[in-house]
Protein backbone atom coordinates (compact mmCIF):
# COMPACT_ATOMS: atom_id res chain seq x y z
CA UNK A 1 0.00 0.00 0.00
CA UNK A 2 2.97 2.29 0.61
CA UNK A 3 4.06 4.41 -2.29
CA UNK A 4 7.04 6.38 -3.40
CA UNK A 5 6.88 10.13 -3.52
CA UNK A 6 9.62 11.69 -5.61
CA UNK A 7 11.14 14.64 -3.75
CA UNK A 8 9.44 17.78 -4.95
CA UNK A 9 11.59 20.79 -5.79
CA UNK A 10 9.94 23.77 -4.23
CA UNK A 11 10.25 27.39 -5.14
CA UNK A 12 10.19 29.06 -1.76
CA UNK A 13 8.31 32.14 -2.92
CA UNK A 14 5.34 30.02 -3.87
CA UNK A 15 5.16 28.53 -0.40
CA UNK A 16 4.95 31.80 1.47
CA UNK A 17 1.77 32.02 3.56
CA UNK A 18 -0.78 34.56 2.42
CA UNK A 19 -1.91 35.82 5.81
CA UNK A 20 -5.49 34.72 6.40
CA UNK A 21 -6.73 38.10 7.55
CA UNK A 22 -5.59 39.86 4.42
CA UNK A 23 -7.12 37.09 2.36
CA UNK A 24 -10.53 37.52 3.97
CA UNK A 25 -10.38 41.32 3.95
CA UNK A 26 -9.65 41.30 0.22
CA UNK A 27 -12.72 39.21 -0.48
CA UNK A 28 -15.72 40.40 -2.35
CA UNK A 29 -19.15 40.36 -0.70
CA UNK A 30 -20.44 37.47 1.38
CA UNK A 31 -23.16 36.92 -1.18
CA UNK A 32 -20.75 36.38 -4.07
CA UNK A 33 -18.69 34.06 -1.83
CA UNK A 34 -21.84 32.07 -1.08
CA UNK A 35 -22.57 31.85 -4.80
CA UNK A 36 -18.98 30.75 -5.48
CA UNK A 37 -19.01 27.94 -2.92
CA UNK A 38 -22.54 26.77 -3.79
CA UNK A 39 -21.74 26.75 -7.51
CA UNK A 40 -18.56 24.74 -6.91
CA UNK A 41 -20.36 22.17 -4.75
CA UNK A 42 -23.21 21.88 -7.27
CA UNK A 43 -20.70 21.45 -10.10
CA UNK A 44 -19.18 18.51 -8.23
CA UNK A 45 -22.57 16.77 -8.08
CA UNK A 46 -23.14 17.27 -11.80
CA UNK A 47 -19.63 15.97 -12.62
CA UNK A 48 -20.47 12.87 -10.56
CA UNK A 49 -23.73 12.47 -12.46
CA UNK A 50 -22.02 12.87 -15.82
CA UNK A 51 -19.37 10.23 -15.01
CA UNK A 52 -21.79 7.86 -13.28
CA UNK A 53 -25.00 8.29 -15.26
CA UNK A 54 -26.58 5.01 -14.14
CA UNK A 55 -28.77 6.63 -11.46
CA UNK A 56 -30.00 9.19 -13.98
CA UNK A 57 -30.76 6.47 -16.53
CA UNK A 58 -32.59 4.42 -13.90
CA UNK A 59 -34.48 7.52 -12.81
CA UNK A 60 -35.68 8.04 -16.38
CA UNK A 61 -36.37 4.43 -17.28
CA UNK A 62 -38.26 3.60 -14.07
CA UNK A 63 -41.19 6.02 -14.57
CA UNK A 64 -41.50 4.93 -18.20
CA UNK A 65 -41.75 1.31 -17.07
CA UNK A 66 -44.39 2.32 -14.54
CA UNK A 67 -46.41 4.03 -17.22
CA UNK A 68 -46.11 1.25 -19.79
CA UNK A 69 -46.34 -1.84 -17.57
CA UNK A 70 -48.45 -0.71 -14.64
CA UNK A 71 -50.57 1.41 -16.94
CA UNK A 72 -51.40 -1.69 -18.96
CA UNK A 73 -52.42 -3.65 -15.87
CA UNK A 74 -55.90 -2.09 -15.72
CA UNK A 75 -56.22 -1.37 -19.42
CA UNK A 76 -59.57 -3.21 -19.70
CA UNK A 77 -61.44 -1.64 -16.78
CA UNK A 78 -64.78 -0.11 -17.80
CA UNK A 79 -64.34 3.49 -19.04
CA UNK A 80 -65.20 6.14 -16.48
CA UNK A 81 -64.35 3.96 -13.50
CA UNK A 82 -61.30 6.11 -12.69
CA UNK A 83 -63.14 9.40 -12.30
CA UNK A 84 -62.66 11.83 -15.17
CA UNK A 85 -59.75 9.93 -16.65
CA UNK A 86 -60.37 8.26 -19.98
CA UNK A 87 -58.16 5.29 -19.18
CA UNK A 88 -55.94 4.01 -16.38
CA UNK A 89 -52.79 5.18 -18.16
CA UNK A 90 -54.04 8.74 -18.00
CA UNK A 91 -55.06 8.31 -14.38
CA UNK A 92 -51.66 6.89 -13.49
CA UNK A 93 -49.63 9.68 -15.16
CA UNK A 94 -50.02 12.15 -12.30
CA UNK A 95 -49.17 9.45 -9.74
CA UNK A 96 -45.99 8.39 -11.54
CA UNK A 97 -44.90 12.00 -11.94
CA UNK A 98 -45.23 12.73 -8.24
CA UNK A 99 -43.91 9.37 -7.13
CA UNK A 100 -40.77 9.69 -9.27
CA UNK A 101 -40.00 13.19 -8.02
CA UNK A 102 -40.69 12.04 -4.46
CA UNK A 103 -38.34 9.05 -4.78
CA UNK A 104 -35.55 11.18 -6.21
CA UNK A 105 -35.88 13.78 -3.47
CA UNK A 106 -35.99 11.09 -0.78
CA UNK A 107 -32.57 9.88 -1.96
CA UNK A 108 -31.07 13.39 -1.84
CA UNK A 109 -29.45 12.74 1.52
CA UNK A 110 -27.50 9.67 0.40
CA UNK A 111 -24.54 11.45 -1.24
CA UNK A 112 -24.24 13.71 1.80
CA UNK A 113 -24.31 10.66 4.07
CA UNK A 114 -21.49 9.04 2.06
CA UNK A 115 -19.50 12.28 2.29
CA UNK A 116 -19.93 12.12 6.05
CA UNK A 117 -18.82 8.51 6.20
CA UNK A 118 -15.80 8.91 3.90
CA UNK A 119 -14.61 12.07 5.64
CA UNK A 120 -15.12 14.24 2.56
CA UNK A 121 -17.56 16.38 4.53
CA UNK A 122 -14.74 17.23 6.95
CA UNK A 123 -12.86 18.70 3.98
CA UNK A 124 -15.85 21.01 3.43
CA UNK A 125 -16.26 21.81 7.12
CA UNK A 126 -12.65 22.94 7.66
CA UNK A 127 -13.00 25.35 4.73
CA UNK A 128 -14.00 28.96 5.50
CA UNK A 129 -17.49 28.68 3.99
CA UNK A 130 -19.64 31.78 4.34
CA UNK A 131 -22.48 29.50 5.37
CA UNK A 132 -22.48 25.74 5.65
CA UNK A 133 -25.98 25.84 4.20
CA UNK A 134 -24.22 26.04 0.83
CA UNK A 135 -23.64 22.28 1.21
CA UNK A 136 -27.39 21.76 1.57
CA UNK A 137 -28.23 24.31 -1.12
CA UNK A 138 -26.00 22.52 -3.63
CA UNK A 139 -27.79 19.20 -3.05
CA UNK A 140 -31.18 20.89 -3.31
CA UNK A 141 -30.30 22.59 -6.60
CA UNK A 142 -28.98 19.31 -7.98
CA UNK A 143 -32.02 17.22 -7.01
CA UNK A 144 -34.47 19.89 -8.14
CA UNK A 145 -32.86 20.09 -11.56
CA UNK A 146 -33.02 16.31 -11.92
CA UNK A 147 -36.67 16.22 -10.88
CA UNK A 148 -37.63 18.89 -13.39
CA UNK A 149 -35.88 16.85 -16.07
CA UNK A 150 -37.64 13.64 -15.01
CA UNK A 151 -41.01 15.35 -14.84
CA UNK A 152 -40.56 16.75 -18.35
CA UNK A 153 -39.77 13.24 -19.64
CA UNK A 154 -42.83 11.77 -17.92
CA UNK A 155 -45.09 14.51 -19.27
CA UNK A 156 -43.79 13.87 -22.78
CA UNK A 157 -44.04 10.11 -22.37
CA UNK A 158 -47.59 10.12 -21.01
CA UNK A 159 -48.63 12.53 -23.77
CA UNK A 160 -47.21 9.99 -26.22
CA UNK A 161 -49.18 7.22 -24.46
CA UNK A 162 -52.39 9.18 -24.90
CA UNK A 163 -52.78 11.05 -21.62
CA UNK A 164 -53.00 14.41 -23.36
CA UNK A 165 -51.15 17.62 -22.54
CA UNK A 166 -52.41 20.53 -20.42
CA UNK A 167 -52.02 24.10 -21.66
CA UNK A 168 -49.02 26.24 -20.72
CA UNK A 169 -50.50 27.64 -17.45
CA UNK A 170 -51.41 24.08 -16.51
CA UNK A 171 -47.90 22.82 -17.22
CA UNK A 172 -46.42 25.68 -15.20
CA UNK A 173 -48.66 24.76 -12.27
CA UNK A 174 -47.73 21.08 -12.57
CA UNK A 175 -44.06 22.11 -12.45
CA UNK A 176 -44.67 24.28 -9.40
CA UNK A 177 -46.46 21.47 -7.56
CA UNK A 178 -43.61 19.04 -8.24
CA UNK A 179 -41.04 21.62 -7.13
CA UNK A 180 -42.86 22.32 -3.87
CA UNK A 181 -42.92 18.63 -3.04
CA UNK A 182 -39.29 18.07 -4.08
CA UNK A 183 -37.99 20.96 -1.97
CA UNK A 184 -39.84 19.72 1.12
CA UNK A 185 -38.79 16.06 0.76
CA UNK A 186 -35.19 16.99 -0.14
CA UNK A 187 -34.99 19.04 3.05
CA UNK A 188 -36.25 16.09 5.11
CA UNK A 189 -33.82 13.69 3.45
CA UNK A 190 -30.85 16.03 3.99
CA UNK A 191 -31.89 16.48 7.60
CA UNK A 192 -31.98 12.69 8.03
CA UNK A 193 -28.53 12.45 6.43
CA UNK A 194 -27.16 14.47 9.33
CA UNK A 195 -29.37 13.01 12.06
CA UNK A 196 -28.95 9.29 11.36
CA UNK A 197 -25.75 7.40 12.24
CA UNK A 198 -24.99 5.92 8.81
CA UNK A 199 -26.13 5.07 5.30
CA UNK A 200 -27.61 1.72 6.35
CA UNK A 201 -30.07 3.53 8.61
CA UNK A 202 -30.84 6.14 5.95
CA UNK A 203 -31.53 3.48 3.34
CA UNK A 204 -33.77 1.68 5.85
CA UNK A 205 -35.79 4.86 6.37
CA UNK A 206 -36.05 5.42 2.62
CA UNK A 207 -37.11 1.81 2.19
CA UNK A 208 -39.93 1.88 4.74
CA UNK A 209 -41.15 5.31 3.60
CA UNK A 210 -41.12 5.01 -0.13
CA UNK A 211 -43.63 2.34 -1.17
CA UNK A 212 -46.05 2.62 1.77
CA UNK A 213 -46.44 6.33 1.10
CA UNK A 214 -47.14 5.48 -2.53
CA UNK A 215 -49.82 2.90 -1.70
CA UNK A 216 -51.36 5.11 0.97
CA UNK A 217 -51.85 7.93 -1.54
CA UNK A 218 -54.12 8.47 -4.52
CA UNK A 219 -51.32 7.61 -6.96
CA UNK A 220 -52.64 4.19 -8.00
CA UNK A 221 -56.35 4.34 -7.10
CA UNK A 222 -58.84 7.12 -6.30
CA UNK A 223 -60.01 7.78 -2.75
CA UNK A 224 -63.45 6.32 -3.55
CA UNK A 225 -61.90 2.85 -4.01
CA UNK A 226 -60.47 2.82 -0.48
CA UNK A 227 -61.96 1.75 2.86
CA UNK A 228 -62.74 4.66 5.15
CA UNK A 229 -59.60 4.31 7.31
CA UNK A 230 -57.31 4.28 4.27
CA UNK A 231 -59.16 7.32 2.90
CA UNK A 232 -58.15 9.09 6.09
CA UNK A 233 -54.53 7.99 5.75
CA UNK A 234 -54.40 8.98 2.08
CA UNK A 235 -56.01 12.33 2.89
CA UNK A 236 -53.29 13.06 5.42
CA UNK A 237 -50.54 12.02 2.99
CA UNK A 238 -48.86 15.08 1.43
CA UNK A 239 -48.31 13.11 -1.79
CA UNK A 240 -52.09 13.09 -2.42
CA UNK A 241 -52.06 16.89 -2.33
CA UNK A 242 -49.55 16.88 -5.19
CA UNK A 243 -51.16 14.06 -7.19
CA UNK A 244 -54.81 15.15 -7.17
CA UNK A 245 -54.28 18.72 -8.46
CA UNK A 246 -52.02 17.47 -11.26
CA UNK A 247 -54.59 14.83 -12.21
CA UNK A 248 -57.35 17.43 -12.16
CA UNK A 249 -55.36 19.76 -14.41
CA UNK A 250 -54.85 16.90 -16.86
CA UNK A 251 -58.55 15.96 -16.92
CA UNK A 252 -60.16 19.38 -16.85
CA UNK A 253 -59.11 22.01 -19.39
CA UNK A 254 -61.31 24.49 -17.49
CA UNK A 255 -59.51 24.10 -14.13
CA UNK A 256 -59.28 27.06 -11.77
CA UNK A 257 -57.75 27.58 -8.34
CA UNK A 258 -61.22 27.21 -6.79
CA UNK A 259 -61.90 23.80 -8.40
CA UNK A 260 -62.45 20.98 -5.92
CA UNK A 261 -59.75 18.42 -6.68
CA UNK A 262 -60.19 15.98 -3.81
CA UNK A 263 -63.08 14.97 -1.58
CA UNK A 264 -61.49 13.86 1.66
CA UNK A 265 -63.53 12.38 4.54
CA UNK A 266 -63.21 15.67 6.39
CA UNK A 267 -63.47 18.35 3.69
CA UNK A 268 -63.53 19.17 0.00
CA UNK A 269 -60.07 20.34 -1.00
CA UNK A 270 -59.67 22.93 -3.75
CA UNK A 271 -56.66 23.34 -6.02
CA UNK A 272 -55.61 26.41 -4.04
CA UNK A 273 -56.09 24.44 -0.82
CA UNK A 274 -53.77 21.70 -2.09
CA UNK A 275 -51.11 24.24 -2.96
CA UNK A 276 -51.45 25.72 0.51
CA UNK A 277 -51.01 22.29 2.11
CA UNK A 278 -47.86 21.71 0.04
CA UNK A 279 -46.44 25.12 0.94
CA UNK A 280 -47.19 24.42 4.60
CA UNK A 281 -45.58 20.99 4.36
CA UNK A 282 -42.47 22.55 2.81
CA UNK A 283 -42.32 25.28 5.44
CA UNK A 284 -42.59 22.80 8.31
CA UNK A 285 -39.94 20.56 6.69
CA UNK A 286 -37.51 23.44 6.09
CA UNK A 287 -37.96 24.87 9.57
CA UNK A 288 -37.46 21.61 11.41
CA UNK A 289 -34.47 20.69 9.26
CA UNK A 290 -33.01 24.15 9.71
CA UNK A 291 -32.79 23.80 13.47
CA UNK A 292 -31.36 20.30 13.08
CA UNK A 293 -28.69 21.46 10.65
CA UNK A 294 -27.82 24.48 12.77
CA UNK A 295 -27.02 22.06 15.55
CA UNK A 296 -24.76 19.80 13.52
CA UNK A 297 -23.12 22.76 11.78
CA UNK A 298 -22.51 24.69 15.00
Amino acid sequence: MSQTVTPPQANLDQLRPAGGTAAIAAQSSEFSDFVQETAALTKRLFIQLQRRPSTLMAGLIQPVMWLVLFGALFQNVPPGLFGGSENYGQFLGAGVMVFTAFGGALNAGLPVMFDREFGFLNRLLVAPLVSRFSIVAASAIFITTLSVLQTAIIIAMSAFLGAGLPGLPGLALVGTIVLLLVVAVTAISLGLAFALPGHIELIAVIFVTNLPLLFASTALAPLSFMPKWLQWVASLNPLSYAIEPIRYIYNHADWSLASVVMQTPFADVTLAGSLLVLVGFGAVALLSVRSLLSRSFA
Partner: protein, 339 residues
Amino acid sequence: MAPAVVIEKLQKRYGSVDAVKDVSLTIESGEIFGLLGPNGAGKTTILRCLCTLATPDSGQIEVSGDSVLTHPRLARQRLGYVAQEVALDKVLTGRELLELQAALYHIPRAQIKGRIAQVVSLLSLSEWIDQKTGTYSGGIRKRLDLAAGLLHQPDVLVLDEPTVGLDIESRVAVWDFLRQLRTAGTTVLITSHYLEEVDALADRVAIIDKGLVIATGTPSELKDGLGGDRITLRLREFTPAAEAESTKAMLQALSFVQDVIINEAQGNSLNLVVEPQSDALLTIQQALKEAGLPTFGISQSRPSLDDVYLAATGQTLLDADLAAVALRDPKKEKKQSMR
Protein backbone atom coordinates in the same frame (compact mmCIF):
# COMPACT_ATOMS: atom_id res chain seq x y z
CA MET B 1 3.37 39.14 17.00
CA ALA B 2 0.99 36.61 18.51
CA PRO B 3 2.10 32.98 18.49
CA ALA B 4 0.76 30.95 15.57
CA VAL B 5 -1.36 28.74 17.80
CA VAL B 6 -2.15 28.97 21.50
CA ILE B 7 -4.06 26.17 23.20
CA GLU B 8 -5.06 26.73 26.80
CA LYS B 9 -6.50 24.16 29.20
CA LEU B 10 -8.21 22.28 26.40
CA GLN B 11 -10.67 19.58 27.47
CA LYS B 12 -12.76 17.30 25.27
CA ARG B 13 -14.66 14.22 26.23
CA TYR B 14 -16.51 11.75 24.01
CA GLY B 15 -19.15 9.97 26.05
CA SER B 16 -17.31 8.43 28.98
CA VAL B 17 -13.86 8.81 27.39
CA ASP B 18 -11.68 11.79 28.30
CA ALA B 19 -9.99 12.19 24.93
CA VAL B 20 -8.21 15.38 26.00
CA LYS B 21 -7.98 16.04 29.74
CA ASP B 22 -5.88 19.18 30.07
CA VAL B 23 -3.67 20.38 27.24
CA SER B 24 -1.93 23.74 26.98
CA LEU B 25 0.48 24.42 24.11
CA THR B 26 2.05 27.43 22.45
CA ILE B 27 3.23 27.03 18.89
CA GLU B 28 5.47 29.83 17.69
CA SER B 29 5.23 31.25 14.23
CA GLY B 30 7.54 29.62 11.70
CA GLU B 31 8.41 26.45 13.61
CA ILE B 32 7.68 22.80 13.01
CA PHE B 33 5.91 21.59 16.12
CA GLY B 34 5.43 17.88 16.74
CA LEU B 35 2.77 16.23 18.87
CA LEU B 36 4.21 12.85 19.83
CA GLY B 37 2.25 10.15 21.56
CA PRO B 38 0.86 6.64 21.19
CA ASN B 39 -2.42 5.85 19.47
CA GLY B 40 -5.36 7.11 21.51
CA ALA B 41 -3.33 9.74 23.36
CA GLY B 42 -5.65 12.51 22.14
CA LYS B 43 -3.49 14.00 19.37
CA THR B 44 -6.15 13.85 16.68
CA THR B 45 -8.79 15.28 19.03
CA ILE B 46 -6.53 18.29 19.70
CA LEU B 47 -6.22 18.87 15.95
CA ARG B 48 -9.97 18.43 15.42
CA CYS B 49 -10.67 21.07 18.06
CA LEU B 50 -8.08 23.41 16.51
CA CYS B 51 -9.55 23.00 13.01
CA THR B 52 -13.12 23.61 14.27
CA LEU B 53 -14.27 20.06 13.52
CA ALA B 54 -14.98 19.48 17.20
CA THR B 55 -16.06 21.92 19.89
CA PRO B 56 -13.97 21.83 23.08
CA ASP B 57 -15.82 21.16 26.35
CA SER B 58 -13.67 23.85 27.91
CA GLY B 59 -10.50 25.79 27.22
CA GLN B 60 -9.33 28.30 24.66
CA ILE B 61 -7.72 27.95 21.24
CA GLU B 62 -6.29 30.90 19.35
CA VAL B 63 -4.81 31.10 15.88
CA SER B 64 -2.63 34.21 15.39
CA GLY B 65 -4.31 35.79 18.39
CA ASP B 66 -7.95 35.20 17.38
CA SER B 67 -10.12 32.62 19.12
CA VAL B 68 -11.24 29.77 16.89
CA LEU B 69 -14.42 29.52 18.96
CA THR B 70 -15.59 33.07 18.31
CA HIS B 71 -13.91 33.54 14.89
CA PRO B 72 -14.08 30.09 13.31
CA ARG B 73 -14.06 31.39 9.74
CA LEU B 74 -10.91 33.39 10.26
CA ALA B 75 -9.24 30.36 11.79
CA ARG B 76 -10.34 28.14 8.89
CA GLN B 77 -8.88 30.64 6.41
CA ARG B 78 -5.53 30.68 8.25
CA LEU B 79 -5.26 26.92 8.76
CA GLY B 80 -4.62 24.20 6.22
CA TYR B 81 -5.71 20.79 7.49
CA VAL B 82 -4.40 17.52 6.08
CA ALA B 83 -6.29 14.69 7.77
CA GLN B 84 -4.81 11.28 8.42
CA GLU B 85 -7.29 9.55 6.16
CA VAL B 86 -7.16 11.11 2.71
CA ALA B 87 -10.77 11.68 1.67
CA LEU B 88 -10.95 12.26 -2.07
CA ASP B 89 -13.92 12.07 -4.39
CA LYS B 90 -12.78 9.23 -6.64
CA VAL B 91 -14.90 10.40 -9.57
CA LEU B 92 -13.23 13.82 -9.72
CA THR B 93 -9.82 14.43 -11.25
CA GLY B 94 -7.14 15.92 -9.05
CA ARG B 95 -7.56 19.25 -10.81
CA GLU B 96 -11.32 19.26 -10.26
CA LEU B 97 -10.78 18.58 -6.57
CA LEU B 98 -8.34 21.50 -6.33
CA GLU B 99 -10.81 23.73 -8.21
CA LEU B 100 -13.51 22.82 -5.69
CA GLN B 101 -11.11 23.47 -2.84
CA ALA B 102 -10.14 26.85 -4.34
CA ALA B 103 -13.79 27.91 -4.50
CA LEU B 104 -14.42 26.78 -0.92
CA TYR B 105 -11.51 28.97 0.23
CA HIS B 106 -12.80 31.86 -1.92
CA ILE B 107 -9.66 32.29 -3.94
CA PRO B 108 -10.55 34.97 -6.54
CA ARG B 109 -11.56 33.29 -9.79
CA ALA B 110 -8.79 35.00 -11.77
CA GLN B 111 -6.11 33.50 -9.49
CA ILE B 112 -7.39 29.93 -9.24
CA LYS B 113 -5.69 28.58 -12.36
CA GLY B 114 -2.32 30.03 -11.45
CA ARG B 115 -2.50 28.86 -7.85
CA ILE B 116 -3.37 25.32 -8.90
CA ALA B 117 -0.47 25.31 -11.38
CA GLN B 118 1.83 26.35 -8.52
CA VAL B 119 0.87 23.59 -6.08
CA VAL B 120 0.86 21.03 -8.89
CA SER B 121 4.44 21.88 -9.79
CA LEU B 122 5.49 22.16 -6.13
CA LEU B 123 4.33 18.62 -5.44
CA SER B 124 5.28 17.25 -8.89
CA LEU B 125 1.72 16.19 -9.62
CA SER B 126 1.43 17.22 -13.28
CA GLU B 127 1.52 13.62 -14.50
CA TRP B 128 -1.56 12.67 -12.44
CA ILE B 129 -3.51 15.86 -11.96
CA ASP B 130 -5.95 15.27 -14.84
CA GLN B 131 -6.68 11.67 -13.93
CA LYS B 132 -9.48 10.62 -11.62
CA THR B 133 -8.34 10.39 -8.01
CA GLY B 134 -9.80 6.88 -7.83
CA THR B 135 -6.81 5.69 -9.89
CA TYR B 136 -4.22 7.24 -7.53
CA SER B 137 -1.77 5.27 -5.43
CA GLY B 138 -1.38 6.02 -1.72
CA GLY B 139 1.60 8.31 -2.17
CA ILE B 140 -0.05 10.36 -4.91
CA ARG B 141 -3.25 10.66 -2.87
CA LYS B 142 -1.23 12.04 0.02
CA ARG B 143 0.54 14.50 -2.27
CA LEU B 144 -2.76 15.73 -3.71
CA ASP B 145 -4.09 16.15 -0.19
CA LEU B 146 -1.00 18.19 0.73
CA ALA B 147 -1.52 20.31 -2.40
CA ALA B 148 -5.16 20.88 -1.39
CA GLY B 149 -4.10 21.91 2.11
CA LEU B 150 -1.58 24.40 0.73
CA LEU B 151 -3.73 25.84 -2.05
CA HIS B 152 -4.88 28.86 -0.04
CA GLN B 153 -1.39 29.49 1.37
CA PRO B 154 -2.29 28.92 5.03
CA ASP B 155 -0.30 30.46 7.89
CA VAL B 156 -0.37 27.16 9.74
CA LEU B 157 -0.36 23.78 8.03
CA VAL B 158 -1.83 21.10 10.30
CA LEU B 159 -0.99 17.49 9.43
CA ASP B 160 -2.35 14.45 11.22
CA GLU B 161 0.12 11.55 10.94
CA PRO B 162 1.33 12.72 7.53
CA THR B 163 3.54 9.72 6.73
CA VAL B 164 1.49 6.76 7.98
CA GLY B 165 1.35 4.15 5.22
CA LEU B 166 4.14 5.74 3.17
CA ASP B 167 7.45 3.99 2.44
CA ILE B 168 10.71 5.40 3.77
CA GLU B 169 11.58 7.23 0.57
CA SER B 170 8.20 8.98 0.41
CA ARG B 171 8.42 9.75 4.09
CA VAL B 172 11.75 11.49 3.67
CA ALA B 173 10.33 13.41 0.68
CA VAL B 174 7.43 14.66 2.82
CA TRP B 175 9.87 15.66 5.57
CA ASP B 176 12.00 17.61 3.07
CA PHE B 177 8.91 19.34 1.79
CA LEU B 178 7.75 20.34 5.28
CA ARG B 179 11.22 21.73 6.01
CA GLN B 180 10.99 23.84 2.85
CA LEU B 181 7.60 25.10 3.98
CA ARG B 182 9.09 26.16 7.30
CA THR B 183 11.92 27.97 5.53
CA ALA B 184 9.29 29.89 3.57
CA GLY B 185 7.65 30.99 6.82
CA THR B 186 4.76 28.54 7.21
CA THR B 187 4.15 27.18 10.68
CA VAL B 188 3.79 23.41 10.61
CA LEU B 189 2.00 21.34 13.25
CA ILE B 190 2.22 17.57 12.89
CA THR B 191 1.14 14.64 14.99
CA SER B 192 3.06 11.41 14.91
CA HIS B 193 3.59 8.23 16.81
CA TYR B 194 6.91 7.71 15.03
CA LEU B 195 9.75 8.80 17.32
CA GLU B 196 12.24 9.20 14.50
CA GLU B 197 9.83 11.39 12.56
CA VAL B 198 9.40 13.89 15.35
CA ASP B 199 13.09 13.71 16.27
CA ALA B 200 14.20 14.39 12.69
CA LEU B 201 11.62 17.01 11.82
CA ALA B 202 10.31 18.98 14.76
CA ASP B 203 11.88 22.11 16.20
CA ARG B 204 9.85 21.56 19.34
CA VAL B 205 7.90 18.60 20.66
CA ALA B 206 5.08 18.02 23.06
CA ILE B 207 4.75 14.45 24.27
CA ILE B 208 1.09 13.60 24.84
CA ASP B 209 -0.14 10.67 26.89
CA LYS B 210 -3.72 9.87 27.91
CA GLY B 211 -4.94 13.38 27.12
CA LEU B 212 -2.18 15.18 29.03
CA VAL B 213 1.05 16.92 28.04
CA ILE B 214 3.84 15.07 29.82
CA ALA B 215 6.79 16.97 28.37
CA THR B 216 7.47 19.96 26.09
CA GLY B 217 10.72 21.22 24.61
CA THR B 218 13.17 20.78 21.78
CA PRO B 219 14.01 17.13 21.14
CA SER B 220 17.57 17.63 22.45
CA GLU B 221 16.36 19.47 25.59
CA LEU B 222 14.05 16.61 26.40
CA LYS B 223 16.70 13.97 25.83
CA ASP B 224 19.46 15.86 27.69
CA GLY B 225 17.06 16.54 30.54
CA LEU B 226 16.96 12.83 31.30
CA GLY B 227 20.67 12.59 31.97
CA GLY B 228 22.72 9.45 31.62
CA ASP B 229 23.63 7.35 28.63
CA ARG B 230 21.95 4.17 27.48
CA ILE B 231 23.86 0.93 27.04
CA THR B 232 22.25 -2.08 25.41
CA LEU B 233 24.01 -5.35 26.13
CA ARG B 234 23.27 -8.73 24.63
CA LEU B 235 25.28 -11.62 26.09
CA ARG B 236 24.01 -14.10 23.53
CA GLU B 237 21.47 -13.86 20.74
CA PHE B 238 19.02 -15.48 23.17
CA THR B 239 20.31 -15.13 26.72
CA PRO B 240 18.93 -17.57 29.34
CA ALA B 241 16.90 -15.72 31.98
CA ALA B 242 19.04 -16.95 34.88
CA GLU B 243 22.23 -15.75 33.21
CA ALA B 244 20.64 -12.36 32.51
CA GLU B 245 19.58 -12.06 36.15
CA SER B 246 23.00 -12.86 37.53
CA THR B 247 24.67 -10.46 35.08
CA LYS B 248 22.19 -7.78 36.10
CA ALA B 249 23.15 -8.22 39.77
CA MET B 250 26.81 -8.05 38.87
CA LEU B 251 26.47 -4.89 36.76
CA GLN B 252 24.31 -3.12 39.31
CA ALA B 253 27.24 -3.31 41.71
CA LEU B 254 29.25 -1.04 39.41
CA SER B 255 29.29 2.52 40.75
CA PHE B 256 28.39 4.32 37.49
CA VAL B 257 25.42 2.07 36.65
CA GLN B 258 22.16 3.78 37.66
CA ASP B 259 19.64 1.20 36.50
CA VAL B 260 19.42 -2.14 34.71
CA ILE B 261 16.31 -3.49 32.99
CA ILE B 262 16.00 -6.92 31.39
CA ASN B 263 14.16 -6.67 28.09
CA GLU B 264 12.44 -10.03 27.58
CA ALA B 265 11.09 -8.99 24.20
CA GLN B 266 14.66 -8.78 22.86
CA GLY B 267 15.97 -12.16 23.98
CA ASN B 268 16.69 -11.01 27.54
CA SER B 269 18.98 -8.19 26.53
CA LEU B 270 20.10 -5.84 29.31
CA ASN B 271 19.27 -2.13 29.08
CA LEU B 272 21.50 -0.03 31.31
CA VAL B 273 21.30 3.62 32.31
CA VAL B 274 24.82 4.83 33.10
CA GLU B 275 26.43 8.10 34.10
CA PRO B 276 27.79 9.74 30.97
CA GLN B 277 31.42 8.71 31.18
CA SER B 278 33.60 7.78 28.27
CA ASP B 279 34.97 4.49 29.61
CA ALA B 280 31.66 2.96 30.76
CA LEU B 281 31.58 0.63 27.76
CA LEU B 282 35.18 -0.50 28.31
CA THR B 283 34.70 -1.06 32.04
CA ILE B 284 31.63 -3.21 31.43
CA GLN B 285 33.35 -5.24 28.72
CA GLN B 286 36.29 -5.77 31.11
CA ALA B 287 33.95 -6.92 33.89
CA LEU B 288 32.21 -9.37 31.54
CA LYS B 289 35.54 -10.79 30.41
CA GLU B 290 36.69 -11.32 34.01
CA ALA B 291 33.42 -13.11 34.81
CA GLY B 292 33.87 -15.30 31.73
CA LEU B 293 30.64 -14.10 30.07
CA PRO B 294 30.27 -13.86 26.29
CA THR B 295 29.26 -10.67 24.43
CA PHE B 296 26.93 -10.93 21.42
CA GLY B 297 26.56 -7.17 21.09
CA ILE B 298 27.00 -4.04 23.13
CA SER B 299 26.26 -0.44 22.24
CA GLN B 300 26.12 2.94 23.94
CA SER B 301 23.85 5.82 22.96
CA ARG B 302 22.45 9.12 24.16
CA PRO B 303 18.86 8.90 25.44
CA SER B 304 16.17 8.89 22.73
CA LEU B 305 12.71 10.45 22.77
CA ASP B 306 11.45 6.97 23.56
CA ASP B 307 13.49 7.11 26.79
CA VAL B 308 11.78 10.42 27.58
CA TYR B 309 8.41 8.74 27.16
CA LEU B 310 9.59 5.70 29.12
CA ALA B 311 10.79 7.84 32.01
CA ALA B 312 7.47 9.70 32.23
CA THR B 313 5.04 6.82 31.75
CA GLY B 314 6.95 3.65 32.68
CA GLN B 315 6.42 1.99 29.31
CA THR B 316 7.91 2.40 25.87
CA LEU B 317 5.99 4.25 23.20
CA LEU B 318 5.81 1.10 21.09
CA ASP B 319 4.28 -0.92 23.94
CA ALA B 320 1.80 1.86 24.73
CA ASP B 321 0.93 2.06 21.06
CA LEU B 322 0.28 -1.66 20.76
CA ALA B 323 -1.81 -1.66 23.95
CA ALA B 324 -3.83 1.31 22.67
CA VAL B 325 -4.44 -0.35 19.31
CA ALA B 326 -5.80 -3.42 21.09
CA LEU B 327 -8.20 -1.23 23.08
CA ARG B 328 -9.49 0.74 20.12
CA ASP B 329 -13.15 0.71 19.18
CA PRO B 330 -13.23 1.55 15.46
CA LYS B 331 -17.00 2.00 15.47
CA LYS B 332 -16.90 4.57 18.22
CA GLU B 333 -14.02 6.41 16.57
CA LYS B 334 -15.89 6.54 13.29
CA LYS B 335 -18.80 8.12 15.09
CA GLN B 336 -16.55 10.74 16.66
CA SER B 337 -15.02 11.70 13.34
CA MET B 338 -18.39 11.97 11.56
CA ARG B 339 -20.23 15.23 11.56
